[in-house]
């Protein structure tokens, strides 16, 4: 740091000119008052004595003048606003991105969280703001938001900083950088500061195998990454899910992990419908995990809560609890017309599926989990999963036609759920779905359809998400292909059943994690109130399908949903994030074209000196008052 001060307002140096009239008036005031005294005998002796210490006395004689000159000098210097230049260049507009993810809530031995430390460092920047400098604070948590505009209003910045809280969600630093990039279009931003503990989503470095934090962002400005010292000791729940092991039982899995740098031990307590149903002990070394299994009755609705009680230091409390609601077990209801024999045959062979209409043509269910049909009128039938055969979606009727020609499968998405473990090569199709001239695949995608199998002249199989439900469209009729005779056909049916069971929460359920509440089904256009774990209310309305979606869930805990004043359901969300629980911190960020290392030492900001000068001036004034009020030495009481 350069200790030679600079001046922000050197023009105020004109105040030094006031020293001249101060001196002039001081000496003008030194006209002496005549005073007749009885005798000069004593005073002459006093003055002669004084002259022995002449040099010091000369100073004391004019000490008032010197003090006033010193005071005026200090005031003039303060007005010129001197500052010690910091190591970093002074920027007019400085965005500061603050990571408010769950790991920033990790506390050390004295209870100070990472976010508290970041606030302290940022407070120093706020206090050291020089005239002309403006800050904006961007928090990255459940959402990315600007806490303030670009401002130099220190109380506003301090209040915004004070109100900052940790969100129990994973880090999303890229969103903050994108917001800063958007700001750079309207403000001259030279650099951006990022305050984070470095606990970011990582993947193994291909070269070294060590975890590296990759951020999908093209840096258009330098980023100064200030890493907050991470803490070590933590144990938390990173996964909580259930799988139907039988018609009457769920297997509930709890994964517990410890932080990368320190082992821990804890007690895991499982409660069902408010009653403790089991517990277990875990002892983990650094970076280890352990999976616990509990068996839960599937014949009734189960509201499960798993709680972790660590022994010893636990840095992060947010990952110590998770919730999971298990519906009562039942069969999957499937609607498949009798005409589609190949499908009905495949479904009836699968366990847990109830296919209607039955052989007598009777259908008792009002709603089905899976609908398979080749009729247009069944498109609007509500279900979790639908499969329409030999049908072009209405939205794409202008883009696609089906001709009676042969076609074959050119390629397909092997990771599409319906096509997992399915081989479509060499399937012969006697219908040719065809794109109209000029129609591109992205038009189909923009219409909301995903092409999961391609034919020679157009898509063959489409997937559409409609809220929480999924619709598949086989543009060709399976009866007009060799598909039902292929081994893959029952696999497709099995995949359909699995997906329907997942969406109906009948086969496998994962505990919801923080971020957004899972979609919930209520009445259409119903007003609901969502109360979060902190007690705050959020008024919402379900959509035309009765789905409540997009409810933010930034905090760990139970969210209560009420409609008409009546409690409809409770949904608990946990952190359930291995990376946040591990507290693994990286000191290097990899952007698309370059990397940024964490700053080794804090960059020194410009240090304004005017408060110190003003304080010194104040004390000079106090001293001057005291000096001329005090009783001179030697005077007897």
């Amino acid at each position: 740091m350069n200790w030679i001060p600079s001046f922000f307002r050197p023009s105020y140096a004109w105040l030094f000119a006031l020293l001249i009239p101060v001196v002039v008036f001081y000496f003008l005031k030194m006209r002496r008052t005549r005073l007749e005294i009885s005798s000069l005998a004593l005073w002459r002796q006093v003055i002669n004595d004084q002259r022995v210490n002449a040099p010091f006395q000369k100073f004391k004689r004019n000490i008032l003048l010197y003090l006033q000159l010193l005071l005026l000098t200090l005031l003039a210097l303060a007005a010129m606003q001197p500052f010690i230049p910091g190591a970093s260049a002074r920027q007019q507009y400085l965005p500061i991105i603050i990571d408010c993810s769950a790991s920033m809530g990790a506390v050390d031995a004295d209870g100070t969280s990472r976010l508290d430390l970041a606030k302290e460092q940022i407070s120093d920047i706020v206090e050291g703001l020089l005239p002309g400098q403006q800050l904006t604070l961007i928090s990255v948590g459940a959402t990315t938001r600007r806490l303030t505009e670009f401002t130099d209003n220190k109380p506003l910045l301090r209040d915004a900083l004070e109100d900052l809280r940790v969100d129990d969600v994973p880090s999303r630093v890229a969103d903050g950088l994108r917001l800063a990039q958007a700001l750079s279009r309207t403000h001259n931003i030279e650099r951006v500061r990022l305050y984070s503990d470095g606990n970011l989503p990582t993947k193994p470095n291909p070269a070294t195998g060590f975890p590296m934090a990759e951020i999908d962002f093209d840096l258009t400005f330098p980023v100064d990454f200030f890493q907050i010292d991470p803490v070590r000791n933590n144990i938390g729940i990173t996964a909580f899910n259930a799988r139907r092991s039988s018609a009457d039982e769920w297997d509930v899995f709890v994964r517990v992990e410890s932080a990368v740098d320190a082992g821990s031990e804890a007690e895991v307590i499982m409660s069902a419908n408010g009653e403790v149903m089991g517990s277990d002990q875990v002892i983990l070394n650094a970076g280890e995990s352990q999976r616990l299994v509990f068996s839960v009755d599937a014949t009734i609705d189960q509201n499960l809560e798993v709680e972790l009680r660590p022994r010893g230091t636990d840095a992060l409390k947010a990952d110590n609890t998770a919730w999971l609601n298990l519906p009562r077990g039942r069969q999957l209801t499937v609607f498949c017309p009798k005409k589609l024999r190949t499908f009905r045959h495949a479904f009836q062979a699968l366990e847990g599926a109830l296919v209607e209409p039955n052989e007598d043509g009777e259908a008792f269910q009002k709603e089905y989990d899976l609908v398979v049909s080749d009729k247009l009128e069944d498109v609007d039938q509500p279900s979790a999963v639908s499969l329409f055969i030999g049908m072009v979606p209405e939205k794409l009727r202008d883009q696609l036609t089906v001709e009676e020609e042969n076609s074959e499968v050119v390629d397909w998405m092997r990771d599409a759920q319906i096509l997992q473990h399915v081989m479509l090569k060499d399937v012969v199709i006697s219908q040719l779905p065809k794109k109209q001239q000029g129609v591109e695949d992205n038009e189909i995608e923009q219409a909301g359809f995903e092409i999961i199998a391609h034919g020679t002249q157009g898509p063959l199989i489409l997937k559409q998400r409609d809220g929480i439900s999924v619709k598949y469209y086989f543009l060709f009729h399976t009866d007009k292909s060799t598909l039902p005779y292929r081994v893959g056909f029952p696999v497709i049916c099995s995949n359909l059943i699995s997906e329907a069971m997942q969406l109906a929460s009948l086969s496998e359920i994962r505990a919801p994690a923080t971020g957004v509440l899972p979609e919930l089904s209520f009445d259409k256009n119903e007003a609901v109130r969502v109360t979060n774990p902190l007690g705050k209310h959020d008024e919402r309305t379900t959509n035309d399908d009765g789905i409540l979606a997009g409810v933010p869930a930034p905090s760990v805990g139970q969210y209560e949903i009420r409609a008409g004043g009546e409690l409809k359901t409770k949904v608990g969300v946990g952190l359930l994030n291995p990376e946040e629980t591990s507290l693994l911190a990286v000191d290097k960020l990899y952007f698309n074209e370059l990397s940024v290392d964490a700053e080794i030492e804090q960059l020194d900001t410009d240090k304004p000196l005017w408060p110190m000068l003003a304080a010194v001036g104040f004390f000079v004034l106090l001293f001057e008052w005291w000096y001329f009020q005090k009783k001179p030495a030697g005077i007897p009481d």
């Binding site: 009885s38 005798s39 004593l42 002459r44």
Partner: protein, 299 residues
């Protein structure tokens, strides 16, 4: 109906006068003449007291042989008796211009009056000399004694005017040229002089006068409250001196003031005299009947 009581003198309240009349000066050293008994008569004095023995020589008055000693030692010894010689009380009243400040001269005059009354009422020869006016113009009161001299004494004091610049040490020489007789000299002054007070004390002591020195200073001289830059003007000589930041010099001033007091007291002590510093603010009764009485200046 109230009865107006007339003051005997404007200098002293009647009660102070009445009390002073009953008191007397108490010098440390009574000047005496040793005389043989045959010189006793006609010599005056107010008391005879045994003093000493000496060998009898033919021709001495046999009435003064101590027969008790002769009976024991079988040798004649002559008793010697002493008698007090008349004591002179010379009051040296500083009436220079410097005494005009803050009532110093008034108090000095009252003290002079009180001590003079004590001397007169005890048949001591009281004289008053003034310092200030120089040369033959300086008025003085010739030695007088007894109650009959009170009126003349008070009249003299009442008519003294303040003025002049002759310092006290210079006045002492003039006084000694006019005064004879041993006893007490009462110096009533502020002693703020450039001259050598020690020499003046020497002259007085050498003339057989026991020194009663009373320094009277005004409150502004004892504890000046001055600040800023001032030009001091001497009231007697009109000389000036410029002083800057007077407030800063007050400590030094007090040091010098205390030093002057110590010097005067030491000089008086060395010559078996007495010294007292009072303020012109002090009450006369307090000075006479407390300070002087406690110090055994008077009894």
């Amino acid at each position: 109906m109230s009865v107006a009581v007339s003051q005997f003198t404007s200098l002293l309240p009647n009660d102070v006068l009445a009390r002073a009349e009953k008191m007397r000066l108490n010098p440390l050293n009574r000047r005496t003449n040793r005389m043989r008994g045959e010189h006793l008569s006609g010599k005056g004095g107010t008391s005879i007291e045994f003093s000493d023995y000496r060998d009898y020589v033919p021709g001495d008055d046999m009435r003064y042989i101590d027969w008790n000693i002769f009976a024991r030692l079988n040798q004649p010894y002559l008793k010697l008796y002493a008698h007090e010689e008349e004591m002179h009380v010379a009051i040296l009243l500083d009436s220079s211009t410097s005494m005009a400040f803050e009532g110093k001269f008034d108090l000095a005059r009252q003290i002079a009056a009180s001590l003079g009354v004590m001397g007169l009422m005890n048949v001591e020869r009281v004289s008053v000399y003034t310092c200030g006016p120089g040369g033959p113009e300086a008025p003085f009161l010739k030695p007088c004694s007894g109650r009959v001299a009170l009126k003349k004494f008070f009249g003299f004091l009442e008519n003294i005017e303040v003025g002049g610049e002759i310092p006290i040490e210079q006045s002492v020489e003039t006084v000694l040229s006019q005064h004879s007789g041993k006893g007490i000299v009462v110096l009533l002054s502020d002693f703020l002089t450039f001259g050598d007070i020690g020499r003046a004390f020497n002259l007085l002591h050498g003339s057989g006068l026991e020194i009663y020195a009373v320094q009277i200073l005004g409150p502004a001289e004892l504890n000046p409250e001055l600040t800023g830059d001032l030009r001091f003007v001497d009231s007697e000589t009109s000389q000036t001196v410029d002083v800057s930041s007077v407030g800063e010099l007050l400590g030094l001033y007090h040091a010098h003031l205390d030093g002057l007091q110590e010097y005067l007291a030491a000089e008086a002590r060395r010559r078996s005299g007495r010294f007292l510093r009072i303020s012109s603010d002090d009450d006369l009764k307090d000075v006479l009947f407390d300070k002087l009485l406690r110090r055994a200046w008077i009894r």
